[in-house]
C-alpha cells in the first residue's frame, strides 16, 4: 500500500470553536455561524474568499446546503462528509487534500452536531433500514468489555484497573475545568468516580464522554501561501484514515485489548510525518476518550507506551497536563461531550492553541519546545472489532 501523505504542503491558518454545551438556545445554524465567524476573523477572510467547504456532520443535516444556507454562500462547492465519530477530522482531511491537489487555494473544514434536540440522553444513531439482526447494544456496553479483557490479559488487579480508569476520567475533568469552552468544568476525584454505580459493564456514567452540541472550523491553504494570512500557521504533517472491515467482531482471535484499526492508522500517520518515537517526539495528543477504557488502550495502540503498561503510566501521571506526554489537555470528550461532527476539529483547536503558545496559562503544557513541536489528534468511530480510525499530526 502506498501512502505518501502531504507533509508540510498544507497549513491551517485559522480556527474557530464554539463552547460545547447543551445549547438549548442555539440550533445548527447558530453553531455553524459562531465557529466559522471566529475562523474567518482569525484569517482576515470573508466567506466568499474561501474557495471550497467541507462540512462534517453525522446526523444534523443532509448535504452541503446545511452550511451554504446559514453562511449565505453563493456558488460555492460545499461537501457534506460523514465518517462516524471521525466525521470532523474527515472534513479536514478532504479540505486539505483538495488544497494539496491544487484544486483550490483556500478551503474550510467545518464540523457541527446538534445532538440535544433528540429528546433523549446520549447519542442515538439515525436508523438505517436493516433485517433487524444487528446489535442494539450501546457503545458504552461494547467498550466496557475492554476493561475485563485488559485486566485478564495483563494480570491487572480489577480494582487497580478501576482506579486507573477513574484516573483517566479525573485527569480529563481536571483539564476541562481549566477550559472555558468545555461542557463540564468541575474536577472529579478518583474516589468520586470509583463510587458511581455501573450502567454498562463496570462503567459508570463518569467513564463515558458527555453529550453536547458544538461546532468547530479550520481554514487551510497551501503552506507557501500562509504568509498572506497569518504569521504562525500550523502545518499538517500527516492525515491517516482506516475503515475497519468488522472482522474483529467475528474473529475468535480478537481479544478486546487493542484496536487494530488504530494501530494501522497510527503507523501510517507516523510514517507520513517521519515520527519514529511518538512518546518523545509529540508534545501532546488529543485522543478519542469516548470511554475511559478506550483512552487506556489508545495509549498503547498509538505507541505511547508498551503493551500492558498504560494502566501503570496513567496512575503515575504520565499523561497528565504536567506529565511526560499530556493527553487531552483541553479536557477531551470527557469534558467537552461529543458532538460527533465537531469533535475532531475541536481536538485540532487545542493543538492549534497549545503548539502556537496561545493556550491560557492554567492549562498550558510545558512539553512544547525545541525538538517537540508536534501534536497528534485521533478519532475513532464504531466499536471494538469494527471501527474507523483517524490520526492526524500537526506541527509548527
Amino acid at each position: 500500500m502506498t501512502s505518501h501523505g502531504i507533509k508540510d504542503r498544507v497549513a491551517i491558518i485559522s480556527m474557530g470553536c464554539t463552547r460545547f454545551a447543551e445549547h438549548w438556545d442555539k440550533g445548527t445554524d447558530d453553531l455553524l455561524l459562531e465557529a466559522t465567524t471566529e475562523a474567518f476573523k482569525g484569517a482576515g477572510l470573508t466567506a466568499d474568499e474561501v474557495d471550497a467547504y467541507w462540512l462534517g456532520t453525522a446526523q444534523s443535516g443532509m448535504s452541503g446546503m446545511v452550511l451554504a444556507k446559514p453562511l449565505g454562500l453563493e456558488g460555492k462547492p460545499v461537501t457534506r462528509v460523514e465518517n462516524m465519530c471521525a466525521t470532523g477530522s474527515e472534513a479536514l482531511r478532504q479540505a486539505a487534500y483538495a488544497v494539496a491537489a491544487g484544486a483550490y487555494d483556500v478551503a474550510m473544514a467545518v464540523g457541527v452536531e446538534k445532538v440535544k434536540d433528540s429528546g433523549y440522553q446520549g447519542l442515538n444513531a439515525f436508523p438505517i433500514p436493516t433485517d433487524g439482526t444487528n446489535r442494539t447494544l450501546t457503545a458504552a456496553a461494547m467498550f466496557s468489555m475492554v476493561a475485563p479483557a485488559y485486566a485478564q490479559r495483563y494480570g491487572v488487579d480489577p480494582d487497580e484497573l478501576r482506579r486507573a480508569l477513574a484516573r483517566i476520567a479525573s485527569k480529563n475533568h481536571h483539564n476541562g475545568a481549566r477550559n472555558p469552552k468545555a461542557q463540564f468544568r468541575r474536577e472529579m476525584s478518583v474516589e468520586q468516580i470509583c463510587g458511581m454505580p455501573a450502567v454498562a459493564g463496570g462503567l459508570s456514567v463518569f467513564d463515558c464522554a458527555g453529550v453536547a452540541d458544538g461546532a468547530a472550523a479550520a481554514i487551510v491553504c497551501r503552506a507557501e501561501d500562509t504568509h498572506r494570512y497569518v504569521e504562525d500557521p500550523l502545518l499538517i504533517k500527516a492525515l491517516s484514515f482506516v475503515a475497519g472491515n468488522g472482522s474483529g467482531l467475528t474473529d475468535p482471535s480478537y481479544d478486546y485489548t487493542t484496536f487494530p484499526e488504530i494501530v494501522r492508522c497510527a503507523e501510517d500517520a507516523y510514517a507520513q510525518a517521519g515520527i519514529t518515537d511518538p512518546r518523545s517526539q509529540l508534545a501532546m495528543a488529543e485522543v478519542h476518550d469516548c470511554f475511559t477504557p478506550t483512552e487506556l488502550v489508545l495509549m498503547e495502540d498509538l505507541g505511547f507506551c508498551e503493551r500492558g503498561t498504560a494502566w501503570q503510566q496513567v496512575l503515575d501521571g504520565a499523561f497528565d497536563l504536567d506529565g511526560d506526554l499530556p493527553v487531552n489537555p483541553d479536557g477531551g470528550l470527557k469534558s467537552f461531550g461529543h458532538p460527533v461532527g465537531a469533535s475532531g476539529l475541536r481536538m485540532l483547536y487545542e493543538a492549534w492553541l497549545q503548539l502556537r503558545g496561545h493556550a491560557p496559562d492554567e492549562r498550558r503544557i510545558a512539553t512544547v519546545g525545541p525538538g517537540r513541536t508536534m501534536a497528534l489528534t485521533h478519532n475513532l468511530g464504531g466499536y471494538p472489532g469494527e471501527m474507523v480510525s483517524f490520526v492526524g499530526i500537526f506541527g509548527t
Binding site: T133, M145, P148
Partner: protein, 447 residues
C-alpha cells in the same frame, strides 16, 4: 401402512411464576404451585420453533395457537423458516381456538397420507395470560409441543378418532383482548361431560376397540376433565405439575405426557374437551423406547420470575419505558433477503474454513449454526440500551467448531453470567416495532 407418530418434542419456557405471589398484588387469585411463563422475548411463534427443533425434515407444517403473533399473515411460515423446511413443504395456521389444534393434527395426518408427503409436522404453542388474579392466570401455562407424523417407524400408530361437535358458550374472547370471559362453570362442565362421553363412544364404535389402557384428558374445564376421568375409570395420565393449561398446546402436551408414560403395546387415548370433544386412539409400538420426551424434566426445571415482572412482560402492568428511542421497525425487504440468517441462523464458511456470522458475501458455502453450542468469551450488562426488559445481557460467544458472534443472552440472571459459560441458541423476538415482530436468535445457558 397406517400413519403414526414418528417423533415428538416439547418446549416449556424457562420462567416459573410462584402463584403464591399473586394474591398480594392482585387482591386475590393465584394459589399454590407454579406455572410456566413465556419470556418477554417469546411469543407463540418462537415457542413453536423451540418445540419443533430437532424433529427432522417435514413435508408439511400445521401450526395452532389461540394467541397468534400476527393476524392476516401466516405465522407458520416463520416456524417453517426457522426450521429451514423445504419451500415445497406447505405451512398453514389453524389458529384461534384450542380445538383448532385437534383439527391441525387431523389435517397433518391426512396430509401425510397423501402420496409423496409422508411426514407432517404438527406444532402447537400458546401463551396464556388472563386478568391478574383470575382463575385463567393461575390455571394457565405457556408452552409448546410438536409432533412429526406420517408413515414410517411409528412409535404410536393411529387407531382412529371419535368426535362430538357442540356449539355452546363456556368461554370466549374478543380478538385482541388479554382475558377470556367464562359462563358459569357448571354449565360448561355438563356440556363437556356429555360431549366427552359421546366422542368416546364414537371412537370405540368406529374403531372396534374395546380396551383402552391409558387416557389423557385435557380441557379448559378442569371440573369436566376430573369428572370424565372418574367416569371412564381408566388410568389417567396428566400433564406434569407446574405447566398449567396451555391452550392450543395443551392437547399436544397431554399427548406427549401420555406417550412418555405409556409402554409399548398399549392402546392409549387422548381426549380433548374443547367446543365439543375429540378422542384420538393410538397403539404404541416398540419404537417408543428411547424416543420419549423430557417433558417431566423440563417441568421440574426453570427459574423464578417475580409477579411484577410477569405482569410487565404481558403488558398487564404499564411500567415506565426505557428512556431511549424505540428501535426502528426491521425492513421487510432486507429481512426477506437474509431469511436464512435471520430465521435459520445460517452463516457462511470461506475457502480457508473460517466461519462468518452473519454470512459473508465472499463465502461460497452456507453453514447452518442454529444447533451449535458455544462458550462465553466476554460479556457485559447494558443498563442503557433499549430493551423490552432491561438490562441487556450481552456476550461474545465462540462456537464449538468455529465462528464467533457477539449476541444477546436470554433466560439468564445477570449475576449468573460468567466467562467460560456454555450457551446454545434459541429463536426469539428481539422487539416489536410498528407491529412487526423482529425475530432472531439469542443465546441461553446450556442447562
Amino acid at each position: 401402512m397406517t400413519s403414526g407418530i414418528l417423533a415428538y418434542g416439547t418446549y416449556l419456557p424457562y420462567r416459573r411464576l410462584d402463584l403464591s405471589e399473586v394474591a398480594a398484588v392482585a387482591g386475590g387469585g393465584g394459589g399454590r404451585g407454579t406455572r410456566t411463563v413465556a419470556s418477554y422475548d417469546e411469543d407463540t411463534t418462537t415457542l413453536a420453533v423451540e418445540a419443533a427443533r430437532g424433529l427432522g425434515p417435514a413435508s408439511s407444517l400445521w401450526f395452532s395457537t389461540t394467541t397468534p403473533a400476527y393476524a392476516d399473515k401466516t405465522n407458520a411460515t416463520a416456524v417453517h423458516a426457522a426450521l429451514r423446511l423445504d419451500p415445497t413443504a406447505p405451512a398453514f395456521d389453524a389458529n384461534g381456538s384450542v380445538r383448532s389444534a385437534v383439527g391441525a393434527l387431523r389435517a397433518a395426518l391426512a396430509h401425510a397420507d397423501l402420496g409423496g408427503s409422508p411426514r407432517s409436522l404438527w406444532v402447537t404453542s400458546d401463551v396464556r395470560a388472563g386478568n391478574p388474579g383470575s382463575p385463567d392466570e393461575a390455571a394457565g401455562g405457556d408452552g409448546a409441543a410438536a409432533f412429526l407424523v406420517g408413515e414410517g417407524d411409528a412409535m404410536a400408530e393411529v387407531v382412529g378418532w371419535g368426535s362430538a361437535t357442540a356449539e355452546f358458550l363456556d368461554r370466549w374472547r374478543t380478538p385482541g383482548d388479554v382475558a377470556s370471559k367464562v359462563w358459569e362453570e357448571r354449565f360448561g362442565e355438563g356440556q363437556y361431560l356429555a360431549a366427552g362421553r359421546a366422542a368416546w363412544d364414537d371412537a370405540l364404535k368406529s374403531t372396534g376397540v374395546d380396551t383402552i389402557d391409558r387416557v389423557a384428558i385435557v380441557g379448559s374445564s378442569s371440573r369436566a376433565v376430573t369428572q370424565l376421568q372418574k367416569q371412564l375409570g381408566i388410568e389417567a395420565t396428566t400433564i406434569p405439575a407446574g405447566i398449567g393449561f396451555a391452550g392450543a398446546a395443551a392437547p399436544a402436551l397431554a399427548l406427549a405426557a401420555l406417550l412418555d408414560a405409556a409402554s409399548p403395546g398399549e392402546t392409549v387415548a387422548l381426549v380433548v374437551l374443547a367446543d365439543g370433544a375429540d378422542v384420538l386412539l393410538l397403539r404404541t409400538t416398540e419404537a417408543l423406547e428411547g424416543r420419549r420426551s423430557d417433558l417431566a424434566a423440563q417441568a421440574a426445571g426453570g427459574g423464578p420470575i417475580a409477579y411484577g415482572t410477569y405482569l410487565r412482560w404481558r403488558s398487564l402492568l404499564k411500567a415506565e419505558p426505557p428512556r431511549r428511542p424505540e428501535p426502528a421497525r426491521p425492513s421487510a425487504s432486507a429481512a426477506g433477503r437474509s431469511g436464512d440468517w435471520k430465521f435459520g441462523f445460517v452463516g457462511s464458511q470461506g475457502d480457508d474454513g473460517t466461519i462468518h456470522l452473519p454470512p459473508s458475501p465472499l463465502d461460497g458455502t452456507a453453514r447452518p449454526m442454529a444447533d451449535a453450542t458455544g462458550t462465553i468469551v466476554t460479556f457485559t450488562i447494558d443498563r442503557l440500551a433499549y430493551s423490552p426488559s432491561p438490562p441487556v445481557v450481552f456476550a461474545v460467544v465462540d462456537f464449538d467448531g468455529g465462528g464467533r458472534l457477539p449476541v444477546e443472552l436470554t433466560d439468564v440472571d445477570p449475576a449468573d453470567v460468567a466467562v467460560g459459560g456454555r450457551v446454545e441458541l434459541t429463536f426469539r423476538k428481539l422487539f416489536t416495532a410498528d407491529g412487526i415482530h423482529n425475530y432472531f436468535w439469542k443465546a441461553r445457558p446450556v442447562r
